[in-house]
């Protein structure tokens, strides 16, 4: 048993909290669900290994003697994963500054805040490494089974990536605090995290579009331009890739470097984190004075005031906008491809339709949750003299209205190229948005809008159903645009998903 208030004691406390957070996330807080959660995890792990086999089995023979394109492919994969880890670590570090759960207790205790935050940063690093290792495990396992034990080195690379991501996230967030102050850091950090998470994928797609005119990322990575501009094979730039391929020296170097970087960042910044956390504590009382064009009340129907309320709340909440921003960011590459296609008069627009339809489904899911479940004044709305069905209809109209506003310009540009493609895209957007909204309706819970980030973990069935429904409608739209009767297959799958959701909905009572 460690002594109270020592680093070991605090670490044990933090790890216990972290473990309980994680288990409650998996089991939704219910002890009776633990067995089901374990079974689901085993099934998920098996499915992931199957998926990993399909993706990486062909690359298990890769070695240090392989073509330069192998190093490019591995480094790109590592960079992509690292950008997502960095995005996640930035979210965690920002939360550590602003979450007030136990900070008041900690900051008023006689324990050194530097020590407390050093442990807290360590916990974030452990979580980042654990998530990275868990997600990478199926792929590495398959490579080990197919290509030999040398691939175990990839685990070390992944752990080092998690440590470096936490160190960089810590430095970036501290820099933001110094640059923009406590009041704006939270919002900007979340936007930066969202952009970092999406930027790498989008960047590659943009490169592919401009170099090959397609959305295929592999085209950019294997292009002549890329191969002409990469560093030499013995460059330090390739060490992470070389380490993953089993180079012991490279592995030792990057693991040592990552640990030194993380230790240095924690030692350097943990003192300042306490000061910044205290500064962040005063941000909650900030007030915003609203200017209005007209001070007179306007006579509107209940449905209209409900719709207006939903739109106003969304538009006035930059945090929520940043949370949905990433989904809209993914529309950028297809929009550019659309522009290039239209300019060149080719028929590649068909590949755009599923991307647009899928984005509509995902965006609708988020907006529908905010509108239907994320009601901050449920009692007020429920005690209003308006039928519950009319209230729900107004909320759904608010979601569909927002989706129409976002996707109408894309459909309109498509219409210049092909009226039929625009018609299919519009129907696909409507079906996908309608499906996602229906799923949110079936799994609605009473929650505050600030719990938006938790929506995907509150009902995993709803999350998966939403994703699969969007994918099925996207496939339907793509095949319909290509004028094939096979479009009926994914459409039936989408309808089956919605039927299944309706059947198991906890709202059936």
């Amino acid at each position: 048993m460690s002594h109270p208030a020592t680093l070991a004691w605090l670490s044990r406390h933090e790890l216990r909290l972290g473990w309980r957070d994680w288990t409650s996330l998996i089991t939704a807080g219910g002890r009776t669900r633990t067995r089901n959660a374990v079974i689901a995890l085993i099934v998920f792990a098996a499915a992931m290994h199957g998926f990993a086999y399909w993706i990486v089995a062909g690359y298990s023979d890769a070695s240090l003697m392989s073509e330069p394109t192998t190093l490019v492919a591995i480094t790109t994969t590592l960079l992509l994963s690292w950008s997502l880890l960095l995005s996640q670590a930035m979210e965690s570090v920002t939360r550590a500054f602003y979450a007030r759960a136990d900070l008041d207790l900690i900051l008023t205790s006689p324990v050194s805040s530097r020590k407390v935050f050093a442990v807290r940063m360590g916990r974030i690093a452990v979580a980042a490494v654990a998530i990275a290792v868990l997600l990478a495990a199926p792929f590495i396992d398959i490579l080990v089974v197919r290509g030999g034990a040398r691939w175990f080195a990839a685990y070390g690379v992944v752990a080092a990536m998690g440590a470096v991501a936490t160190a960089v996230a810590l430095a970036l967030t501290i820099a933001l605090f110094r640059l923009v102050g406590a009041k704006r850091t939270r919002l900007i950090a979340q936007i930066v995290a969202a952009i970092i998470g999406a930027a790498f994928v989008i960047g590659l797609q943009l490169m592919a579009i401009f170099s090959g005119g397609t959305l295929t990322r592999a085209a950019a990575l294997q292009s002549e331009w890329m191969l002409a501009h990469i560093p030499n094979a013995d460059s330090v730039f390739w060490w992470p890739a070389r380490a993953a391929l089993g180079d012991g020296v490279a592995l030792a170097a990057i693991v040592l470097f990552s640990m030194a970087l993380l230790g240095g960042a924690i030692a350097l910044f943990s003192g300042r984190v306490g000061d910044h956390a205290m500064a962040a504590a005063g941000v909650g009382s900030a007030r915003v004075r609203q200017r209005r064009g007209s001070l007179a009340f306007r006579l509107r129907s209940p449905q209209r005031v409900l719709r207006q309320k939903e739109w106003t709340l969304l538009l006035r909440d930059p945090w929520l906008i940043s949370q949905t921003l990433m989904q809209i960011l993914y529309l950028l590459p297809p929009a550019i491809l659309l522009w290039l296609t239209f300019r060149n008069g080719r028929d590649d627009y068909i590949v755009l339709i599923p991307v647009v339809v899928m984005a509509a489904g995902q965006l609708s899911g988020g907006l529908a949750w905010l509108s239907i479940s994320g009601e901050d004044a449920p009692d007020l709305v429920a005690t209003a003299p308006v039928k519950a069905s009319r209230i729900m209809a107004a909320k759904i109209e608010a979601v569909i209205g927002m989706i129409a506003l976002i996707f109408a310009p894309i459909v309109a540009v498509l219409a210049f190229n092909s009226t039929f493609a625009a018609f299919v895209a519009a129907l696909g957007v409507l079906a996908s948005a309608g499906g996602a909204t229906m799923i949110q309706l079936c799994f609605r819970v009473q929650a505050r809008r600030s719990q938006f980030r938790r929506r995907q973990t509150s009902s995993r069935i709803a999350t998966f159903a939403e994703a699969f429904s969007s994918i099925a409608w996207a496939a339907t739209a793509a095949m319909a645009a290509a004028l094939t009767w096979f479009a009926l297959v994914p459409a039936l799958i989408a309808l089956a998903i919605l039927g299944g959701v309706k059947l198991i909905s906890p709202r059936n009572d």
Binding site: R287, R289, R298, T312, K387
Partner: protein, 255 residues
């Protein structure tokens, strides 16, 4: 209390069961222009009763009539003349008090001009002029509760249902809220309120109902309740504790 006055709220054989009966055959009669306080220990069924009256919970059995309207058969008509306010003010952080009142007025389909005049009046009464055009996100608990109360009153309800509305308010805010409620009752409105602050019930209520284990165990003016316990010079606190203890003893004996 005179029985010739119109009945504002009547519940008959009202029942609601969760794991155990929360409200058990509850009969309540509250008259127009009356300030009625519902007291009871934690878990007695006070909030469940009020949530059923407000239309937030469906009773398992029984009836609720508000101002002659069957609230279970015609919920929208009953809601048109009622207002609900809980101890946790539920308002929108990103709206200003002024916009919040405009939203509430829209939900209740109140004439815009009348609602605007009423909103200005309430903002003045509750001392919210300085914050009227600030977003609610930075407001203190007391200010948020005052905004929520203004929202409850902007459509001029006949029956105001309040669940612990003074919890967490400072003395000044509590006084403002009490004054507004008194004015509403003086103007003919009816208030039914739960509270754990017995001094408030003692000073403000025309009649007090004591509820325990979902049943109404005593009802009347403070003097009538004192007579019931056999002690004429005791405080409401003593009277309330004696009534609850007596009910617990009877229940234990019956079991």
């Amino acid at each position: 209390m005179s029985v010739s006055r119109p009945i504002s709220l009547a519940t008959r054989a009202l029942c609601k069961k969760f794991d155990r009966p929360a409200v058990d055959n509850l009969d309540l009669t509250i008259y127009g222009g009356e300030f009625y306080c519902l007291l009871g220990p934690n878990g007695a069924g006070k909030t469940t009763t009020l949530r059923m009256v407000a239309g937030l919970l469906r009773p398992d059995a029984g009836s609720i009539v508000i101002d002659g309207i069957d609230a279970l058969a015609r919920p929208e008509a009953a809601k048109q003349i009622t207002a609900w306010l809980s101890d946790e003010p539920m308002i929108y952080d990103k709206l200003t008090p002024y916009e919040y009142l405009e939203f509430v007025a829209g939900l209740w389909c109140i004439d815009a001009k009348a609602a605007e005049g009423r909103a200005r009046e309430l903002i003045g009464w509750l001392g919210l002029e300085q914050q009227a055009h600030e977003r609610c996100e930075g407001f203190s608990k007391g200010t948020r509760q005052k905004v929520a109360l203004a929202g409850a009153l902007v459509h001029d309800p006949k029956l105001i249902i309040l669940d612990e509305p003074l919890t967490g308010l400072d003395a000044g805010s509590a006084r403002q809220v009490k004054n507004v409620l008194r004015e509403r009752v003086a103007a003919g409105g009816t208030v039914i309120m739960t509270t754990h602050i017995l001094e408030v019930a003692e000073r403000m209520a025309d009649r007090i109902g004591v509820i325990a284990n979902g049943r109404l165990i005593a009802e009347g003016t403070l003097d009538e309740l004192r007579v019931k316990t056999g002690a004429t010079a005791t405080s409401l606190e003593d009277t309330f504790l004696a009534l609850v203890a007596s009910e617990a003893a009877q229940r234990a004996a019956a079991e």
